[in-house]
């Protein structure tokens, strides 16, 4: 537990000192979503209809953009092999790094989401559900992404491979995330979708660190 906090603290400190990286995902999120009103036209009804899907897809792409640096810097400067040889189980170190990744990528996206909801004329009723769904869904994106980032670590141009590996796995959180928001907007209960997102999060919390750690061991051999 203490080791987990140490790793999270170190990665947060690194992210804050290199804050350009952290801003990149949020700026990408906001700027890309802003393109849609220009593309599909400014009618409020159209925008309202596509809002949940657009916000989720763009959030997903913003997370994707930040995945490569999750393990790469540590791999290249030797920190990763030192982490592997520290008494801390590698799975815990991975969980710490993913948690720090979510805090510096997922959380800022959630903070920026109300701005986009406003831009897309989203009903206030849907906004709360959107934020709740993102709170459950973005950690899933970070966790799945960590497995992809770990698997492509040894490969040349691994950064290009990550989207190919990870995007298909992002479909379930996308479906449930958009589903929850749309249910709330059309007056239905968002509960089933949110519960499924929560279940996905719990499963991934368990599976992703194990899978990513195994992939990292392989990459370091």
């Amino acid at each position: 537990m203490k080791g987990l906090v140490i790793v999270i603290g170190r990665d947060l400190r690194l992210a804050l000192r290199q804050s350009a990286d952290a801003w990149l995902a949020v700026l990408f999120f906001v700027l890309t979503a802003t393109l849609f009103p220009f593309g599909v036209g400014p009618e409020a009804a159209t925008l309202r209809q596509i809002a949940p899907g657009v916000i989720w897809v763009v959030a997903l792409l913003a997370v994707l953009l930040s995945l490569e640096r999750l393990f790469l810097a540590d791999f290249e400067d030797g920190s990763l092999e030192q982490l592997l040889l520290s008494p801390l189980p590698l799975e815990v170190a991975v969980l710490g790094k993913v948690a720090a990744h979510w805090l510096t990528t997922g959380l800022p996206l959630i903070a920026a989401a109300p701005l986009l909801a406003l831009l897309f004329h989203m009903e206030p009723a849907g906004l709360l559900t959107l934020l709740l769904a993102m709170l459950l869904g973005t950690p899933v994106l970070s966790l799945i992404g960590a497995v992809g980032a770990a698997l492509t670590l040894g490969a040349r141009r691994g950064g290009v491979l990550i989207p190919l590996l990870v995007l298909p796995l992002y479909i379930p959180p996308l479906i449930f995330g958009v589903g929850a928001t749309e249910s709330a907007l059309s007056g239905l209960s968002a509960r089933p979708d949110l519960l499924l997102l929560g279940a996905l999060l719990l499963v991934m919390l368990l599976v992703a660190p194990l899978a990513a750690a195994a992939a990292l061991r392989q990459a370091l051999e």
């Binding site: 203490k2 080791g3 140490i6 790793v7 170190r10 400190r13 690194l14 000192r17 290199q18 290249e76 400067d77 030797g78 920190s79 092999e81 030192q82 982490l83 592997l84 040889l85 520290s86 008494p87 801390l88 189980p89 370091l220 051999e221």
Partner: protein, 243 residues
Amino acid sequence: MTLFEGRNLDCRRGGRDVFAGLSFELPAGGALLLTGANGSGKSSLLRMLAGLLRPAGGAILWDGQPVGEDPGAHAARLHYLGHLDAVKPVLSVRENLRFWASLREGAEGQGAEGDGATAEDAGGGEAVPDDSVLGESGRLEAALDHFALGDLADVAGRLLSAGQRRRLALARLLAQPAALWLLDEPSVGLDHASVGRLAAAIAGHRARGGSVIVATHTALDLPDALPLSLDALAPPPLPEMIW
């Protein structure tokens, strides 16, 4: 008494045999000096002994127990210094060192039990309590001072020279105790005075009952180190294919 032992180790990298049938025995407080031409497998052997690389054959034993049975316990008892320094450019020298030291701090109870036993075996137990008297932060500052990094403690990692980065990596060895040091070319980039400090650190480690395995091409003062040359262990070249 043998503490750390390798039996008939084989190493294959990329489908090619690097060395075969390598055996060694290392007592507590002992030193092993690896020599061999470039590509003879010194780094591979050290990575193998650290648990980063699985041997293609043979066994690695600590106190008679195969280390593969409990990789976590093995990792806790060793310091591995590879070619990379694991120095973060945006963290200061002290922050870099503190992170690695604090990761080991939590698990020290479990690791130190084994270490304590080995130190007693070697009859060098006096120096160990000395360390605990110093305390965590005291040990960290002592490690910085030993490698003359005291004045650089607040300098960011990206401003360090290659030799200074290496000294910071070496300071990790002293910031937290570990029974076994695996050092891969530890003196690369070091100036003359720093090589002396490294030799002194190794001597202190051995006096406390610690063991060390060093691969190096440069002259490093290691009194009565057991030499181990990997040149003789390279497999014979494959006969030419006839067809």
